[in-house]
Symmetry: D2
Subunit: 242 residues, 4 copies
């Protein structure tokens, strides 16, 4: 699936700036509509390390009303989280019907990092596909708008970004040995990703984002969210001028 | 299914007293073992109004270490709970791996009271069977010991208990008009219950409890919990005497 | 303060049995009244290791309706708890106005174990007296019934109980090296306790319990809770017999 | 206190645009420093209806990393919140040591709307001053950076904004009868505000913001937050170039 992505897709600065503003404004309007129509929004970001999730999320949220958004960065589980089923930490973070929740990494950790690093047993990550599909179906049937992104970059692009981070004293703190270790297992992760994309596409399809160019990725994500919400929500009647 | 129950089953006071103490003691020992073996315990009580759930629960818990048990009485959902999927309020109450949680009424409200009273749409309560089965499968696969009871009484016995409560000034507060209204829909509830018992028996089977006699019901519940835990847990080695 | 306690106070088995039942029954009645009158109940147990808190709590709770009680065993804080002010973990556990919450150890850990073991700085545990007094005043002013117990045993009695635990294969797991290390600091703990009792007696006074005899301690705790609730709650009118 | 504010202060569009960008960038840098130095940040927005809190907050947050910020819009309490002390809902929302939390309205509701509208008894709102001061002292002593703003507009400016909202079909939904009713009690609110500003200035002083001009108010808030964080945090060493 990932092979078919054209990672050379990109946007010029001008095209980016021109597209950004109207999309952010429309998303702001849609956020208000979603609240009024009681449609909770759940957005999942997954992607390679250094795929640009953080900056992408910021462009998605910066124009929105922050009182109705929560962004969760999902890292190593706490003791209390480990003491429950892995979906527990996500259930407790689900939005009310007037909110938007964004997960920067998510329950898919079960079939990615936990699988590859051996934190979950084979039986555990294998049954996770079904558990996840049922979880997403339940959210969908309950009226939530769930959108999930895979931000894809090439191995060369990741190397390039890692090296740039190391060279920049203000960003070096972002890099850990773990990043390099994970990078060393690129192929194992790749096949875990492919299996994930295949086995968790129903009922909620994956949105694949070519992310070698950050501008392209940001606009594509924004446009996808705007399109899905526009399709889903009941249009607001234009005010009648008497 | 319910027709086959023999509601005349009963225990004398003496038989009850003789049985109660050793079962409570064994359950206390099993509670400690379950904690040491990291087996969370989830017990669901469902049953007709006035079936004796409260008193039954007290006999189950009174000898146990209260620091590791929580009993939730599940009533009308709060605004915040209504603002989420109906399983959300139960996910947030799931036990840690050293705890026991008892639900006095549970997620089955979706296919009982919410169905009969029209608080859930037909589509909602119909898809709930699958959601509940998947939820329980997930808990079971994750290592929880989940036991669910239906406490059954006859319509005559319920009437008898309602009248006794009305006659007792210290218990009259327990009775509301709603209790009488619900009683008026006995047959609708009965067919909802039958359908529930049939469609949610897999993977976790229902334990049907003849509850016209409270003593019988208490001992049968206690014995069922003890049996299931004894089967499930690894026996503690007797201490070696040198 | 502790010196004045007469640790030889004790109850015979018969006197204990005779006292236990009516007190438990009265407490059950008072629990229902407190719920109806919307008085939340908060009970704090502090005391030496092996002072008998667990067993004491069980006698307090076993006759009560478990749906309206939660018992929290307070141990080492989790990462998330450490990431907040030490009172945070207690605020999140405060009862609703129809509940009773029992803390088996509590916020007093700040001026006891955290002080003696150096987990809190001197500035931190010193300002804790004021923080705690203000916290308790706030709960009291808000209508909660807050009762706090210090279960006191002699150093000899503790040694005796530690040795008995070590000798009993079913209880040996309860003993850790830490218990022995703490015991080695008896005097440091003693002066921390004395300072705590003195500086946190207002607005909520401490209830000192002579606990060398477990039966005495259980009955005294029960009686104290019953007395305080009886004084506090509005008596229920006896039913009018026409 | 409020009389001394010069509500004619304003910023031109150009001056605003010039000031905004560098302040937002510096705040972003300070956010990262605060996280690294484990300084939780708590920002309280209070102000008249239509004082521009929402838009002000958005300018404060839009450049920041949304994974470490939560903005809470505080409205009518839920049933569960009413079932606890009024500070409970804020305690449960306090930040971890790497987070920033923004309250759009806050615990000061107790001495403003709840006082004026009679939702709290006189005894309740009067003792709230002390409770709030002790709460803020505790947060401050615990290392949190707490900043609280009062956004002030004139009665004429509020009327002007209310009318503009009514005239704009996309904003009319924001206006309720309650807004007009509250406006009718301007003087009662004014004296409640004055008393609040006076009695809760220690240990955390109020930051008064002239908000008749939104641009002025946004820049003043941003500058205040930047100044306080810059003073508080340990400067990051410039990277040593070998």
């Amino acid at each position: 699936m990932l092979e078919t992505l054209d990672l050379s897709l990109s946007l010029s600065k001008e095209a980016y700036r021109e597209a950004l503003d109207p999309l952010q404004n429309e998303l702001h309007a849609l956020q208000i509509q979603a609240r009024n129509q009681h449609v909770p929004i759940i957005i999942v970001y997954e992607g390679w390390d250094a795929a640009g999730k953080g900056g992408n999320i910021r462009r998605l949220t910066e124009r929105l009303d922050p009182r109705f958004i929560t962004v969760y960065g999902i890292g190593k589980p706490t003791e209390e989280e480990l003491d429950h089923h892995y979906l527990w930490r996500f259930w407790t973070k689900l939005p009310c019907r007037n909110e938007m929740v964004i997960f920067d990494r998510s329950w898919y950790g079960r079939v990615l990092v936990e699988r590859v690093e051996g934190f979950a047993t084979t039986a555990e990550w294998q049954r996770a596909y079904r558990e996840i599909n049922e979880f997403e179906r339940l959210l969908h049937d309950d009226g939530a708008q769930l959108i999930k992104f895979w931000l894809h970059i090439s191995s060369e692009e990741q190397l390039h970004r890692f090296e740039a981070r190391m060279a920049d004293p203000t960003k070096r703190w972002k890099m850990t040995d773990e990043d390099w270790r994970n990078r060393g297992k690129w192929q194992q992760y790749e096949s875990a990703i492919e299996e994930m994309l295949e086995r968790t596409a129903d009922p909620i399809p994956w949105q694949l984002i070519e992310a070698n160019d950050k501008r392209w990725a940001r606009i594509k994500v924004l446009r996808t969210v705007v399109d899905q919400l526009r399709t889903r929500l009941i249009p607001v009647e234009p005010p009648v001028v008497p």
